[in-house]
Amino acid sequence: MAAFLASMIHDVPTDSDVVLELEQQARRQGTGLAAEDLDGFWQLNQTWSREGTASSSFSIGVLRALKACLVLENQSDGLAITNQVSLGPFRLQFDGIASLKGRQPLLRFSFTSVRLQVGSLTLLNQSLPEPTKQRQPFFALIALGDQRNWLCARGRGGGLAVWIRSPDNAA
C-alpha cells in the first residue's frame, strides 16, 4: 500500500541526495512545521542510513508488509503519538505523547504504553516507564511535501526516513 501511495505522489523523495539537500535547507532556514501540519497517519515508505545508504529492499519490504505506521494527533493538550505495526489480524502499537521544539524542529516523544491486539481482542496492554530526558527519542523534522502528503525526518539514531500520509488507519 505504501509503495502504491508513494507512486501516486510526484514529489516524494526517493533518493537520499534529495533528502540530504532538504536537510541542509531545514538546518539553514528551519521548516516552519507546527503540530497541526503533522496530524494524520504516516506510513513508512523509505529509510536510509545516517550517511544516506538506502536500506535493503528486503528491510523496506518487511516494514511495508508490516504496515509500519506513525500516527500523530494534534490534541488540545499536545500531540499524541502512536507507532504501530500490523500483520494480518495482529497489531502491536506503542502510544505516547510528543512535542515540538526548536526551529527545525525536533519532534520529541516518549511512549507511555504498549498494546498487542488481535482484531478487537486485546492480548496485552501495559504501561511503560518514562525515559529520562536525555534518553528521550526524537525525530529532527526535515520537510513536509507541498501537498502535505509526505514527511521526512532523521531519527536520534541517525537514520533517515520518509513517510507517506495514508488516508486512514486501515492503510
Partner: protein, 144 residues
C-alpha cells in the same frame, strides 16, 4: 548572588569545540552538547576559571589566554563566554570530563542536534547555547 560560570568557545578550521555532558540525572543538562568550562571558584576571576576548567577538562591551557567575548546575566546564572583558537588538534588533547567531544560546523550548531561518535546517536544541544549560535550567525551574515 547568582552563580557564575566561565565557558570557552574554541574554534578550529571553521568548527567549534563542544562537550557532550555526562548522562547523569543530577547534573545540569545531562546528555546534551554544551561548551567546556564551569563554575568560578571562590576568589577566582572568570578569566582564571576558564583557563583552569580547560586544563581540567581537555588537558590544555590556552596561551595566550582566551579573550572575553560576552557575558549574560539574564538567566539564573551569570555566564561569561570566552573565545579563541583551538591551537592543537583533538588527537593531542585528552577528554577528561564529559562523554564525548566534537568540532561542530555552524550548520550543525544551527540544527540543534549533533552526532556523537561515541554514543552512536544524535544528541540535543543545551538550550543556552542558542545565544552563542545566534551571535555566530550574525557574524557570518555580517561577513557575507
Amino acid at each position: 548572588m547568582k552563580l557564575a560560570v566561565a565557558l570557552a568557545m574554541l574554534q578550529r578550521d571553521d568548527r567549534w569545540l563542544l562537550q557532550l555532558r555526562d548522562d547523569i540525572d543530577t547534573i545540569l543538562c545531562p546528555g546534551q552538547w554544551g561548551l567546556f568550562g564551569g563554575h568560578l571558584e571562590p576568589g577566582e576571576t572568570p578569566e582564571q576559571a576558564v583557563q583552569r576548567e580547560l586544563e581540567e577538562e581537555i588537558a590544555w591551557r590556552p596561551e595566550p589566554p582566551l579573550r572575553p567575548w560576552f557575558s549574560d546575566a539574564s538567566g539564573s546564572r551569570v555566564v561569561h563566554v570566552f573565545r579563541g583558537e583551538l591551537l592543537r588538534p583533538l588527537e593531542e588533547l585528552k577528554l577528561l570530563e564529559g562523554q564525548d567531544w566534537t568540532l561542530a560546523s555552524l550548520s550543525e550548531l544551527r540544527s540543534e542536534t549533533i552526532w556523537s561518535e561515541r554514543c552512536g546517536e544524535f544528541r540535543p544541544m543545551v538550550a543556552g547555547l542558542s545565544t552563542v549560535v545566534q551571535k555566530l550567525l550574525a557574524e557570518a551574515n555580517q561577513n557575507g
